[in-house]
Symmetry: D2
Subunit: 364 residues, 4 copies
């Protein structure tokens, strides 16, 4: 209830601080009998890991995960899976400066007033480092979704600061540090280099997609599939907007255009983004999120200190100039966690429903 557990049937309870001894999570509700090892999880952790290019924070964290429970002889047992990641490269001295000052655009101020106390080292609990356990849990969810339903998740960057990134091919995504679906990223390299020199930061837009989701997942009236996706994505650090399918463009669309036609051979379009009435249609789930620019920047900012007095803030230390760059694997993980939760919820209530006729294909 204090907001550190994600999900209802497949739950992930996250703990840790950026510069504490360890971070991690406890997964409860994982179906038994699935093969699982650290290697299944490490791959996605490595995609999210800091220090992999000059465009992200240079903090050196191997992010090696240890499975503490819930797996016996290489298989899940149905009991809680505890995942532990020890923090290695905490340089808390870097943060002495901001222990007494609030960074504009940062959670410093709100944590301080909510709790009357905060761990300022590296952002403490509000650090994006806490997305690592989410990625780890998402890897477990992904494996199950793929094995049971053939569901695949992927994400890419579609805008970097002012620069839209055209979609060329998913195949390019793993080949550049931006998760950009284009062959040539020189333009974005240059943009980021200039930004760092300017001691500034920028935002990004990320597209997330799930293919293979069957029709029928999602709950009316409130825990709609798209509502839970919006909750998951807006809860990711720095996200300020979420769209499903046509998103904000649907405002200007006519009903004759927006509604996706159904044919025996499949849907003609996917403006819905794979969700109608809060329930999956069987089409691809399409999500887009807006990530704001990093608030921890080297440029001096006007602010106040913890005594309420005016104070200039300059954030040294190691920070991502665009947190959106590492957001793709995290967004995939969050979507996976939403999907597995609804898969289990569907099975609970409608496990024995035999649809009167077969669903139509995802697309013509």
């Amino acid at each position: 209830m204090s907001g550190n557990t994600f999900g209802t049937l497949f739950t992930v309870t996250n703990f840790g601080e950026s510069h504490g001894p360890a971070i991690g999570c406890v997964i409860d509700g994982c179906p038994p009998g699935m093969a699982l090892s650290e290697a299944d999880i490490q791959h996605d952790l490595d995609r999210r890991r800091p220090g992999t290019s000059r465009h992200v924070t240079q903090r050196n964290e191997p992010d090696a995960v240890e499975i503490l429970s819930g797996v016996y002889q290489g298989k899940t047992t149905g009991t809680p899976i505890a995942l532990l990641i020890r923090n290695q490269d905490q340089r808390s001295k870097d943060y002495g400066d901001i222990a007494e000052r609030f960074r504009p655009g940062h959670a410093d101020y709100t944590y301080f007033h909510k709790y009357g106390i905060r761990d300022p080292r590296g952002g403490g609990r509000s650090s994006a480092r806490l997305t690592a356990p989410t990625v780890a849990a998402g890897a477990v969810a992904k494996k199950w979704l793929a094995a049971q339903f053939g569901i695949q998740l992927r994400a890419c960057m579609t805008q970097l600061g002012e620069l839209p990134i055209p979609f060329e091919d998913w195949a390019h995504v793993p080949n550049n540090p931006f998760f950009a679906p284009v062959a040539d990223v020189q333009r974005y390299e240059d943009y980021m280099d200039a930004l760092r020199k300017a001691h500034d930061s920028c935002g990004a837009r990320i597209r997330v997609q799930a293919t293979g989701v069957p029709v029928g997942w999602g709950e009316p009236l409130f825990d709609k599939l798209d509502a839970d996706i919006a909750y998951a994505m807006m809860g990711l650090n720095a996200v300020k907007g979420v769209e499903i399918g046509a998103g904000f463009d649907s405002v200007a669309q006519r009903g004759t255009v927006h509604g996706d036609s159904l044919t025996p051979g499949g849907f003609r379009t996917n403006h819905a983004g794979g969700v109608l009435g809060g329930i999956s249609t069987g089409q691809d789930i399409e999500v887009s999120i807006a990530i704001k620019p990093t608030s921890s920047i080297l440029s001096p900012r006007e602010s106040i200190d913890i005594h309420g007095q005016s104070a200039e803030v300059v954030t040294k230390g190691r920070h991502d100039p665009c947190v959106g760059i590492r957001a793709a694997p995290i967004a995939e993980a969050l979507l996976a966690l939403v999907l597995i939760d609804h898969a289990l919820r569907h099975r609970a209530q409608c496990g024995d429903v035999v649809p009167p006729v077969a669903p139509i294909p995802a697309a013509l």
Copy 2:
């Protein structure tokens, strides 16, 4: 867990179908001792009610609410408040046509495949009519928020189809059928008249705002205030996008611009939309949502029937050509429900926290 309960501490369990005998909800967790009568609730229900202009559905529903429990001698007792609204004007014959065909863009198809059975009368459970109990519960929440914290909620339309609506003044909102913050709405009247004649529908964009929210509401890591707002708004029928503060514009903003400066006299800007790190800052909560065009339209559409065969669909009956027109009071109610829930959650965990220094004002 089947998604018909909203909230965690102030919970609203919704029930009913568009053309069943009644709709309603049960509120659990309302603090005791607050004066409450049907009149407190009816005002907002009347703002959402159908039939109030030619631009909305002509279904004639008084939407008169009855309090069945939880109030004694005019005051809440702390026990569940059950609210009942009898359906009056069900013309189920209007819907005979679509009982066997799926409307493109509608929940028909997904409900049918999820449950293997669906109530097709008026959209059944997926009808926007089910937002009435939400509005009723929101009215209770609003009253408490106003009494305890002076919090005010309001919403207005900022775009109708292709037409952006400039912001002139909140005072205009109650004076036109569009909840538009402008003095002259002739342009929007004409637009809607043309749309109806074209047997088509359009979307809308709605802005929702809460003032007076104190600093410190919202939970890390997952039940962030903005995450819960996104969940609430995306769960509203036809919503396809949600923004907090600068929203998608923040992608192209630089960090030096986006981060709201703090001064002893208040914040300089509010790009954050009143939320940092998932916790309220004390500034206005600013939300924007995208509503898609109504899927029930008179124009013939390509679709299939429940046997999987090709079928043309024409939706007769009474429908809103722009569901966004009545969305403002619903969006307010949803925001109120999110806020009261977090108010109580804050009180539970941090009820005795005395912030070391007073928060700064909402704005300079």
Copy 3:
């Protein structure tokens, strides 16, 4: 979270006060496609109903239930089932006397101090009348458990005040007003008549049993099947003790005796009461509960008033001299609600588990 919802996947949200306009509940999570009508529910409501013999309260309530939602053409649709029971025979004048005084052994005092306000009419929210919606919801659960698994639930009285009731046969239970498993109940009739004349009340002990529960229901570590049964039963008005299987007798048993032997043909004994490690064994679930004597009695009692001053209390009005007499159908309903919830939880997580070998029979 305010405690008026029972269950996690099959949830029952209860509302109402003894002398308010109505009581009822909303069931969420009922699987779709099950035939359901008011008649399915009314039978159990009639078993619990007041006024059926001279040994229970003479309040005249038909307890006629109305299904407001969630059923279409005689079948559950998977959406919330709202059940409404209008109160008919409220004689609030009977209670004028106790509006300002606290009955010893009653919830008057605790409600008053918890909420600062209470509805004193007929016990308000704390009245045993609020078990009627539970019985109604339990009837829905029972129907599903019987249809899906052949599970049967039954309960009987095993002690009335000082009088133990020997077990003769389940067949006798419906033939006497005590739910006693004996042919001749004259002794208990006489006992109750004497008690009423003495203006006193007594307790009772109830046995509840479920047959046909498959092996594997119940969650470690906390939501064990027996833990949830204990929660359900102890939450029933006036219950002060709960036992599973051998219960308190197991304290004096040796391990060589208590542990139920397994054979390929079935279990030899059932000291466990059908639960091991919190998970059902496939044997009968056996529960026993202790119900205290009614606190509302005609004999004068020493107490205080709402101003904290000494006051004598005599409870007029219509009360059950032994609330345990009507407890059997309620206890069955609660056990049914626990079981259906765990049935769905099991299906969610372990829905595709194929046990390596067939379970052994319930008993040799």
Copy 4:
């Protein structure tokens, strides 16, 4: 939802297996600002620890706890507190024998059929070893309850097998290995020595008490304080019965006797055990639980193997001949967890209720 999280506002998510690398828990919802160190927790862990006398298992576990998060500069920050206990003395070879056979009275059989897979080493997830993290979390709860309300918790053994243990004084409890409230425990030492020689085991009865609980904690209708206590206690390994106050004795009591009289100077008796209508009265909370004999014994037992064939089982390895002996600190911890949860729930809904008059004292 898979049952490894305890509580609603102060939640404890437990993980681990008896012979896995580690056990532990994550506490979420702890109020911020409370001084907390490992030493605060270790004391209760040491009371529960194995190997402290010849009457308990000889497994050698230091049970040293590490705080991984949620504490900064010696104070709780309001974020999750992760507690880790590494397993040290796993001798899995001891359990080779029972990997393929089900111990009568043990969870072996039910886990196997529920999940289709189980970790048999030392009972895996069903081991009483998993109560260690509960005790650790309970220590955090106890500290807060003592600091905020002066609440004290204690427990003692009141029956060992067939031997009732008379209550002499709480002061004796820490001075003997049985948590017995008597000065001379020779009789119980002899009893246990004989039992071990007989290769058998026995049950125990434990009394748990909380003093200083204010009036008003507990939720109607379902999450009553006593219901949640029953849930907590019945969920403890080997518990088969729970009583509140007079418990099963209340069946034979008359209403004129059972109902505790109120006077301006305090309650005259406490048959209610500190709970009326599911809400605390301000009197001592009094609970009694029945613990069955250990199922892992050296005497040969009739059973079956995992292929469904007849098999004799002899449980070697290190086991408690009476698990009840170490139950006292665990029962205290569980009661503390229930109380802190209801303390926070009360604060959430009724945080600003000012009772019209002061409550009466706990006792005359």
